[in-house]
Subunit: 296 residues, 2 copies
DNA sequence: GGGTATTCATACCTAATAGGTATCAATAGG
DNA sequence: CCTATTGATACCTATTAGGTATGAATACCC
């Protein structure tokens, strides 16, 4: 793949912002002809026209508008990465960076934080809700110290299981099954639309749901996908479908949703506190001590 | 700022993965000496040592591990951007991309989606929870069709106000003020630790809180920052502080938290459905019709 | 309607840089 | 202690980025 050069991204951003090759060239401290060639070369590499230009007017095409956002983001992310590794080399520290899935927020995270913060009020915690694959990548890249995530994820991570839970059915309050007490058999949901997260962001969770519905003899009809658990529940509450979710989601207490235990047997969903093998400093090791206590 | 070249990022990733200059050079189809110089030059530009090397062994330094993740991400994001703009140029479409703040999830979003999806079941909705500034950037970059966000945000966006709400105090159930009914005066919270989001992600919300506490004669002592509203509430429930939050957050119904109206008068917090000026297709225009109905 | 000014594109050239080869220096292993 | 291996350095060449001159198209002004 013939990807652009950073120089070309900078050139394009300058032209896109000035909408004038001459002024953009001046801003870049080059002359206009190499800028013109650079943009042409960029467009050839991308296979897209980014700028519509005549002798008197330059405008962004839709593709150009789209690519402009990407180019700006890439350039600013590179600058941040440079600053970040520079300050790391210069010696900074003394904080813990913790990613977590929204499920953790309904379960162990508040208790974990409370325990640790009581013991170590001086350690700054940077909390960030992230999907499990993103946390795994960030751990591998040393951008997080810990992640609270759902297995399986890629990478050489150590982990502590901090939560194991069963699934429940999340039903709109108006649902016929919501009126009854007691457990729900999964086969009773065969005709329903489901609200689910895509498999690639939580394969462990998704596969338990898939296994449950397969054993009940059907494949779930997905009415709406959503990525975060609270969004799943929100969509259930407005009647867009039902969902099979881990039981801690019931802590969400969302109006318009009722939760029923599932009659069918199934494995529990594990939640991990994960960290990069060999990647913990002193603050991290102490955090782990507290985490082991909370996990019992 | 002397940022690296993409060529240097590729060189570094290759060495980091092979931990051998000769094999990395072979993989890159260059010879070993220019690779050695390239890495040295990269380290000079970054002001950090990325690789610890002797004649027989190459290892990543902590800074190198950190930067490796960034470099890989940047390179893969660039490739995705190239593919994305290439396929856009080749012609794709037919869906709506909607970003939203977590607040919207507690308020208008479910109703909005339900109304639209009933009318137009064939249009695929891609939902993504994002902070307001990120949504604004994504709208400007044509990466979202709509955003449900809190003003003010940067950029030339059109908007429809879809929600206006007052603030409430979120208190741990064990709090002394939680036992009483009736409204809470903000000055009664002067000695409390607050859980707040940083200003830069929601300046409109933050400034109303700042105004409330300033009028009550104090500056809030921030015990813990959190970015998303459900995380704020989660931390309140575990006793890490109190919070002043928009009233729709009470829909969260989180155990361990009670909500009390605030006695002090204050402006309402607006929630916008925003879109890029001139950036709507037919599906988007129709979505807007439904949105106007829901907003009344 | 014609002339002029402006602006992006092209042709040709030079300066700067990326990569190659030869070799050095250090060290691990036999 | 000698040899093989590997990253670093010196010197050189090939390639590319940028500069200057100019062309071509067009909008504006007279």
């Amino acid at each position: 793949m013939n990807t652009p050069e950073l120089r070309q991204l900078r050139h394009f951003v300058a032209v896109a912002e000035h909408l004038h090759f001459g002024r953009a060239a001046a801003a870049l401290h080059i002359s206009q002809p190499p800028l013109s060639r650079s943009i042409q070369n960029l467009e050839q590499r991308l296979g897209a026209t980014l700028l519509a230009r005549s002798r008197r007017k330059v405008e962004l095409t839709p593709e150009g508008a789209r690519f402009l956002g990407e180019a700006k983001r890439l350039l600013s992310q590179l600058e941040r990465a440079v600053l970040d590794v520079g300050s790391m080399a210069a010696g900074a520290g003394g904080r813990l960076r913790l990613g977590f899935v929204s499920l953790a927020d309904f379960g162990v995270l508040p208790g974990l934080l409370k325990a640790y913060k009581a013991a170590r009020p001086g350690v700054a915690l940077a909390l960030r809700e992230m999907l499990s694959p993103e946390q795994a990548a960030a751990l591998a890249a040393s951008e997080l110290d810990f992640g609270l995530l759902l297995p399986p994820v890629a990478g050489d991570l150590e982990h502590l299981v901090v939560q194991r839970e069963r699934f429940v059915a999340a039903l709109p309050s108006s649902h016929r099954l919501a009126r009854t007490r007691g457990r729900v058999a999964v086969r009773e949901l065969a005709a329903e639309a489901f609200v689910m997260a895509p498999r690639e962001i939580a394969p462990g969770l998704h596969d338990i749901v898939a296994m449950l519905t397969a054993r009940a003899g059907f494949s779930p009809r997905v009415g709406q996908e959503a990525i975060q658990m609270q969004t799943v529940v929100s969509l259930v509450s407005s009647g867009l479908g039902v969902a099979l979710v881990p039981s801690s989601v019931a802590n969400l207490g969302r109006r318009g949703v009722v939760y029923r235990e599932i009659a069918d047997s199934h494995p529990r969903l594990d939640l991990w506190l994960a960290w990069r093998r060999g990647g913990l400093g002193a603050a991290g090791k102490e955090f782990l001590v507290h985490a082991r206590r909370v996990a019992r």
